[in-house]
C-alpha cells in the first residue's frame, strides 16, 4: 500500500555501500491509477500489505455502466467499472477469460490473456502477391481494436494478437 493505493513491485534493487546505510531502489506500479514510479526505501522499512487477489473470470455482458464477469466454477459474479477496465475494453469477447485483480473484493484491474484471437471486420484489400508485409495496414477487429496487419490479411480472417503490445502475431491456428 502506498498513498492509499495497492501497488505492484516491478523491480527491487538492494544497495549496500561498504561503509554506509543500505537502501532499496524500488520500481512500483500503482494498481488503481496505473502510475509507475521509482521510490527509495531504507532497507528493512516496512510497508502495509495490500489485501489484493487475482481471479480468473469469464466476461458476460456490459449493462451500459458496468462490465459483468463470472467465476465459471462458483458462478459468482463481479461488476467492473470503466476505470478498472481501462484499455482492456478493446479486447472484450464474451465467454473469454480475464484476470480480475480484486482489492478488498472490488475489481481494480482487468487484464486480458496475453494472446487473443479475433476476427477482422474491416481492412483495405491488400495487394495480392505482397507477402513481405512491409509496413502493413490497419485492420479493425470485432471488438473495435485497431491493429497493424500484413498486407495479405483480408477482412473476415481470424488473427492472433498480443494484447500487451497490441501487435499482430499470426493468422489464427484454427
Amino acid at each position: 500500500m502506498l498513498d492509499g493505493e495497492p501497488c505492484n513491485i516491478l523491480e527491487n534493487e538492494y544497495v549496500k555501500p561498504g561503509k554506509g546505510q543500505a537502501f532499496n531502489r524500488v520500481k512500483i506500479r500503482k494498481l488503481v491509477s496505473g502510475k509507475v514510479l521509482e521510490k527509495t526505501f531504507r532497507s528493512g522499512e516496512s510497508v502495509e500489505g495490500a489485501d489484493v487477489m487475482d481471479t480468473e473470470l469469464s466476461y458476460l455482458y456490459n449493462d451500459g455502466e458496468f462490465w459483468h464477469f463470472m467465476n465459471n466454477e462458483t458462478f459468482e459474479q463481479v461488476a467492473a467499472d470503466e476505470k478498472a477496465l481501462g484499455d482492456t475494453v478493446k479486447w472484450l469477447v464474451e465467454n473469454d477469460l480475464f484476470t480480475i485483480t480484486l482489492w478488498n473484493g472490488t475489481p481494480i484491474v482487468v487484464t486480458p490473456q496475453n494472446f487473443v484471437e479475433l476476427e477482422i471486420t474491416e481492412t483495405d484489400p491488400g495487394l495480392k502477391g505482397d507477402t513481405a508485409g512491409t509496413g502493413g495496414k490497419p485492420a479493425t477487429l470485432a471488438t473495435g481494436a485497431v491493429v497493424r496487419v500484413p498486407l495479405f490479411i483480408q477482412t473476415g480472417e481470424v488473427i492472433k494478437v498480443d494484447t500487451r503490445s497490441g501487435e499482430y502475431v499470426s493468422r489464427a491456428s484454427k
Binding site: Y14, V15, P17, G18, K19, E38, K39, T40, R42
Partner: protein
C-alpha cells in the same frame, strides 16, 4: 556481461552454482594473489573468524552466536573483516601481512552481496595511502589484465558529475540533486547519508568504466579508521576502488592514535543510538594494541568474489560461489 544466471538457476539446489571451469579459474586467481604477495615478502596470516567483540560501524552488523558451556554463556561475533585482529598482529611485531579468507556481514544477499564472502586484506608498514594505491593498481593490472587505474578525489567527483561543491552545498541543494522520491524523510537524513546516496546513484555508474578508478580523499566525516589529512583537515586518507559499477576495495592510511580511535567508536555508538541500532562495545583489545603502538602503515580490504566477477565478466556474485546463500 554473460547472462549465465538464468540457466544455472534451473539446476537442482544441491548442485554447485559456479561452473566447473570457473571453479578452476577461481582457484587460479587465489593462487595468483598469493604469488603476488609472496614475491613482495608479505606474510599470509590467519585470524579468528569468531571473536569476543564486534564492530561499532553504524552500518555494519556482526552475526552473533553463543558459546554455552554449562551455566556460562559467552557471545561470540563472526568477523566483518580481519582488520582488528590484523592490527593487533601489526602492533605485536608481525611485519607486513595479508589475509585471504572468509568475512561475514549480517545483511541481505544481492547481485553483489553474499552474507559470507572472501576478503583479501593487507597491511604495508611504512606505506601511506598513495603508496598502497600504487600496489593495488599493480595487483589489479596483474589479475584483471587492465590498464593502470585513474585517480579522482571525492570532491572533484561531485564537482564533475553532480555539479556541486561538497564543502559549500546546502543540505537542500544536495537533496535536490538526488532527484529521487523517498519513502522516508530525506530532510531528516544526515549529510553523509545524502552524500552517499548521491555517490551511489549519480557518480558510481559513471566512473571506472574502462579502467579501475580510485576515489581518494574522502570527507573527514567518513574517515572510518583513516588518518585525517594534516594538509587539509576537511579530508581523510581514505580511498575506495571502483570498476565497472562494482565497489571493489576500501583502504586507509591507518589511524594509529588510540584516543582518536576511541572517540570515533563512541561517535559510532551515538549514531547507532539515533538510528535505533544496538550499542556495540568497542573492542578493548584493539584499543590496547593501538595504545601500545601500531606501526605507521596503510591497509586495504578487497572483495575477492567481486574481483572474480570482474575477471570473468560474471553478472552476479552467486556465479562466483559453489554454494551462495540460497544453496548454502
Amino acid at each position: 556481461m554473460k547472462n549465465s544466471r538464468c540457466q544455472i538457476a534451473e539446476t537442482p539446489v544441491w548442485q554447485m552454482q559456479i561452473t566447473p571451469t570457473n571453479l578452476r579459474l577461481r582457484a587460479q586467481l587465489l593462487a595468483r594473489i598469493r604469488a603476488f604477495f609472496t614475491n613482495k615478502n608479505v606474510t599470509e596470516v590467519d585470524v579468528p573468524v569468531l571473536s569476543h567483540n564486534g564492530v561499532t560501524d553504524p552500518y555494519l552488523d556482526n552475526f552473533v552466536t553463543q558459546l554455552t558451556l554449562g551455566q556460562t554463556s559467552t557471545s561470540l561475533y563472526l568477523q566483518t573483516s580481519p582488520e582488528y585482529a590484523m592490527k593487533r598482529m601489526l602492533a605485536s611485531g608481525s611485519g607486513c601481512i595479508y589475509y585471504l579468507g572468509k568475512a561475514f556481514r549480517h545483511e541481505g544477499a544481492g547481485r553483489q552481496h553474499n552474507p559470507e564472502f572472501t576478503m583479501l586484506e593487507w597491511y604495508r608498514i611504512g606505506f601511506d595511502d598513495r603508496a598502497l594505491m600504487h600496489e593495488i593498481d599493480e595487483l589489479l593490472m596483474d589479475v584483471l589484465s587492465v590498464a593502470s587505474a585513474e585517480y579522482l578525489s571525492y570532491h572533484a567527483a561531485f564537482l564533475h558529475y553532480v555539479d556541486l561543491d561538497i564543502n559549500t552545498a546546502s543540505h537542500d541543494e544536495l537533496i535536490t540533486a538526488l532527484a529521487m522520491d523517498f519513502h522516508y524523510d530525506i530532510q531528516q537524513a544526515s549529510r553523509d547519508h545524502v552524500l552517499q546516496l548521491l555517490f551511489n546513484i549519480h557518480i558510481e555508474p559513471k566512473i571506472g568504466k574502462e579502467r579501475p578508478c580510485f576515489i581518494i580523499d574522502f570527507p573527514a566525516s567518513q574517515a572510518a579508521l583513516a588518518k585525517i589529512s594534516s594538509a587539509d583537515p576537511r579530508y581523510a586518507h581514505r580511498f575506495e576502488v571502483y570498476f565497472k559499477g562494482i565497489e571493489l576495495a576500501n583502504g586507509y592510511w591507518e589511524l594509529t592514535d588510540a584516543q582518536e580511535q576511541s572517540r570515533r567508536f563512541a561517535a559510532d555508538n551515538v549514531i547507532r543510538e539515533a538510528e535505533g541500532a544496538v550499542q556495540v562495545v568497542p573492542d578493548p583489545r584493539l584499543i590496547a594494541a593501538l595504545t601500545h603502538g601500531l606501526p605507521e602503515c596503510a591497509g586495504v580490504a578487497l572483495g575477492v568474489d567481486r574481483l572474480f566477477m570482474l575477471a570473468e565478466n560474471l553478472d552476479s556474485i552467486e556465479d562466483t560461489l559453489a554454494f551462495p546463500l540460497p544453496r548454502a
